[in-house]
Amino acid sequence: MAVITPGDASARRQSPPLRLLAARKARPASAVGTSIVVVFLLVAVLGPALAPYSATEQVFSEARQAPTFSHLFGTDRLGRDVFSRVVIGARDILSLAGLGTALAVFIGLVSGLLSSYIGGWFEELLFRFYDSLLAMPALLLALLLLGTLGPSRNSVLFVITIAYIPIVARVVRSVVLDTKTKDFVAAARMQGESLPYILFREILPSVLPALAVEAALRFSYAIFLVASLGFLGVGVQPPNPDWGLMVSEARTYVSLTPWALYFPAAAISLLIIGINLMADGLKRVLQLES
């Protein structure tokens, strides 16, 4: 009996995991974005070790100083070191947005996976509920919740999670609905596989690429949201070094201490741009674009 020998493998399409490595479609901009994100993550991890001063200590004798070597980003009108505040604020915003995103992605994934596979009234009900949440623009929902919960770190965390669960769940659902009609799922069913096996072993891998991109986007929006809430004064409360809050506080005195406004504003912008460029690169590598 002749056994067919493996043909020329180079002419064949690469399997999905291999495509991940062949990141030819990514732009240089994506690499820049990823580097920015890495730098911010390092700053967040090292945090207090990098900051020369306390984030909250007010040294009135050194108030309103322009950037110098001892105060890289200058000081604000209360004499706090802006560089230290920005560095320490990085940990705050990244952990808050990161944790909120992680929770939203996890809950969105599990609920989306489960409900879309089971289908029926359970799915109908859950997604009606999600749709109703989505009928409120994210910031509106956030403000409504904060307006009743009262502003605090935990409230912000809760708000991010609630606002982004439905979006993640929808992305998961769209992939699951497509995947569950595939013949390999039918084959698994004919083998009598259990529901958890089908969900996590057969379907989940197909969901992951889209989920990775969505998670990166959600992370960027979460940072956006935290900063916006801080700016509006309903998020993290003073004297915490929240970037949005710092911008809002420095605004009134922009002619006196413009650096106290520009540096945190630049930090927010740079971080979000970095994540967006990275997400875009991820999308191209995973070939999810259009």
Binding site: M1, I4, R13, P16, K182, D183, A187, R189, M190, Q191
Partner: protein
């Protein structure tokens, strides 16, 4: 030969992929005379579509014509400027693509889309008249309505007619038909082929007909070229090519397709081993690694395209020996011919009685308010059949006949609405979850699309381990060996265990699918169009494999396909389905002989036979398959029946009639009368080993 309309000389085309260039066509030359229909056949990867796109200068972004010359009506196509190219597209060359629906703009009316194609341009009133004229010329009964319609409102066959009309809106020098009937049902394909034949008959247009189907080409072309791996390996007058192929690849293609009437007990298919060359070409003849006649020179020296005699070209070192019958270009036979299972005392494996499946159609709000009952799609509407141990039942019918739904009801992927199914006398539950493991083990299905049947993220061994572990009940330490055994059984090397589906070819994927289904050694296997998506040479290998595995395991098959030639080759019995019911059922050789059910007769006479000289009855079905929501009363087939008897067909359900061989036909016309009315749909006395 008169001056050629199309002349291609030494054409080389390459594609760039991931920074590397791959040759798609190497040194292809051909000529088409005005009024000639020139067939271009080859399997996927042969470069036939690339050739067609090069001629119209419509290669994708990453494709380049490296060298060579294309002349159409005396003009050098490659040197046209943009403006000239538009002019050239507008009047000299037209393309009828494979899929009509995506080729039509979804948001423009048919009339407007046709008007744009008219050349020479006419004034508004003239153009409108011309549109109606064009639509009428492609056999549209109500051109005014069609002109106002949007593409999605037409059936597939009608859409293809529109696209053909569009191609004829100018008087092109060259008409390229790129697999124009590939996605159509066989009965629709037959009417479209009739139409094409009619339309080109009295035009002086050169036609390039690109197809993977040897049957279609045999039926429609004057001359045929065979492409393999980007090279033209043979071309000849159609009769001569089919009578005496000079290239072993051509011979291999012809031997890969079962002729109707040949069955597995009398003849084996001769698949071509191996697969088409990849990026690294063999140093000699590119077909040498798969060729039964390859000798030293074939492996070292690239053969030239030679001209044995006028009007014939072949690229083979040994054509002379083949022509003189000194060398046999056929692939050797690989296994013992299947033996016929004796009919008496065969154990019944599967038994269906009155199986029905209905899907509810959602009611609109107004229907709910008017308290109308929900409409139902009666996809499967009362099926009785049984399959014996080691036997194969073939199930044929056009799309929408309910054959796939029936298969899904049997395996439990879709719960049936009514009726009983039993496997080895054990009644089967309606849903998969209610069936126990012994049932799952003895009943498996191989699914249709090789691309979707395997999880792209799981390695082959991961895919095969599950059924071995869960259904066959093997222990962990036995699994590795069992996976190797399974791979060997489907003729794949054990190294495939490590691969991901993305690293497999279509045929290899289907082998893994089959291995998975066989893992639990089931008593009954269902195949739902399992070989339809494959190239013919690969398909032949899989068909042989199935027949061999059946011999070995004595498993029973339910083989579903729209392809009657494959079904009739594999099946001991054939059931013909139409709109959810069986219209005819009997032993294969009996179903292929009159008296036929009129539907079977139409199916058989619609098959594009792989023989340009075959005499075939010309019976065509009119109209479309009716919607299963509003089934025709009486006999379901009466709206399209070419042998419509009269009022009774529309009012009364036809009776079952049985002939002396045990074949049963569901028709009002008495068998004796059918017998006198009908001739053999075609001739199939083949003398073969």
């Amino acid at each position: 030969m008169t001056t050629a309309a199309l002349k291609i000389s030494d054409l080389n085309v390459s594609y760039q992929q991931e920074g590397r260039w791959f040759d798609a066509l190497r040194g292809v030359s051909l000529q088409i005379a005005p009024g000639q229909t020139y067939g271009l056949v080859g399997e996927s990867g042969s470069g036939k579509s690339t050739l067609a796109l090069s001629v119209i200068r419509f290669l994708s972004e990453n494709g380049r014509v490296r060298s060579g010359k294309i002349e159409l009506a005396g003009r050098d196509v490659m040197s046209l400027t943009d403006a000239e190219l538009r002019e050239f597209w507008r009047k000299c060359v037209k393309l009828v693509p494979q899929n009509p629906l995506p080729s039509l703009n979804p948001s423009l009316r048919i009339g407007r889309q046709l008007r744009e194609a008219i050349y020479p341009p006419l004034n508004a009133a003239g153009a409108n008249l011309k549109v109606l004229e064009l639509l009428e010329s492609v056999g549209m009964a109500d051109p005014k309505r069609i002109a106002r319609a949007y593409p999605h409102q037409l059936s597939g066959g009608m859409q293809q007619r529109v696209v053909i009309a569009m191609a004829l809106a100018s008087e092109p020098d060259l008409l390229i038909l790129d697999e124009p009937t590939t996605n159509l049902d066989v009965t629709t394909e037959a009417t479209i082929l009739d139409l094409i034949r009619d339309l080109i008959k009295d035009r002086n247009t050169a036609v390039l007909y690109v197809s993977h189907s040897l049957g279609v080409v045999a039926q429609i072309c004057d001359r045929v070229a065979v492409l393999y791996g980007g090279e033209l390996v043979e071309d000849a007058d159609v009769l001569k090519l089919y009578r005496k192929p000079l290239h072993p690849y051509t011979q291999g293609l012809l031997d890969s397709v079962p002729r109707i009437g040949q069955d597995k007990t009398k003849l084996q298919l001769r698949p071509i081993p191996g697969q088409i060359p990849g990026a690294e070409l063999p140093s000699g003849c590119i077909f040498a690694p798969r060729c039964p006649l390859a000798i030293e020179i074939c492996r070292s020296e690239r053969p030239k395209l030679e001209l044995p005699w006028a009007g014939r070209r072949v690229r083979c070192h040994r054509w002379q020996e083949i022509a003189d019958n000194q060398a046999d270009p056929r692939q050797p036979l690989k296994f013992v011919t299947a033996s016929e299972v004796p009919n008496a005392e065969v154990e019944t494996v599967l038994k269906l009685s009155e199986v029905k499946k209905r899907f509810a159609v959602q009611r609109s709000l107004s229907q709910v308010l008017r308290q109308e009952a929900a409409k139902q799609v009666r996809a499967v509407d009362g099926i009785d059949l049984s399959i014996g141990r080691g036997k194969t039942l073939g199930l044929v019918g056009e799309s929408g006949s309910g054959k796939s739904t029936l298969a899904r009801c049997i395996v439990g992927l879709v719960p049936r609405s009514e009726g009983d199914i039993s496997l080895l006398d054990i009644p089967l539950a309606r849903t998969l979850s209610a069936r126990d493991k012994t049932v799952l083990r003895s009943l498996q299905m191989v699914l249709q699309s090789p691309d979707e049947a395997l999880n792209p993220y799981l390695r082959v061994d991961q895919t095969l381990r599950r059924p071995l572990q869960r259904l066959a009940g093997l222990k962990r330490q036995e699994l590795d060996q069992a996976v190797v055994n399974l791979l060997k059984a489907v003729k794949l090397s054990p190294s495939y265990a490590e691969r991901l589906p993305g690293q497999l070819s279509g045929g290899e994927k289907q082998r893994v699918s089959i291995a998975r289904a066989f893992a639990s050694q089931p008593d009954l296997l269902l195949f739902d169009e399992s070989v339809s998506a494959l190239d013919v040479s690969v398909q032949a290998a899989i068909v042989n494999l199935l027949s061999e595995l059946q011999q070995e395991h004595q498993s029973s098959y339910l083989f579903i396909s729209h392809d009657l030639s494959v079904v009739s080759y594999l099946a001991d019995e054939i059931a013909v389905m139409y709109l959810g019911v069986i219209t005819e059922i009997g032993k294969t050789q009996d179903v292929l002989k009159p008296p036929y059910h009129p539907y079977t007769e139409a199916l058989l006479s619609a098959i594009p036979l792989i023989d340009p000289e075959a005499a075939q009855e010309h019976i065509r079905l009119v109209g479309e398959v009716p919607s299963p929501v509003n089934l025709p009363t009486g006999c379901r087939f009466h709206t399209r029946c070419p042998r419509f008897l009269g009022k009774i067909c529309g009012t009364t359900e036809p009776p079952w009639q049985e002939d002396e061989s045990g074949k049963r036909i569901n028709c009002h016309i008495p068998l004796s009368e059918l017998k006198t009315l009908q001739k053999q749909a075609f001739n199939f006395d083949h003398e073969e080993v």
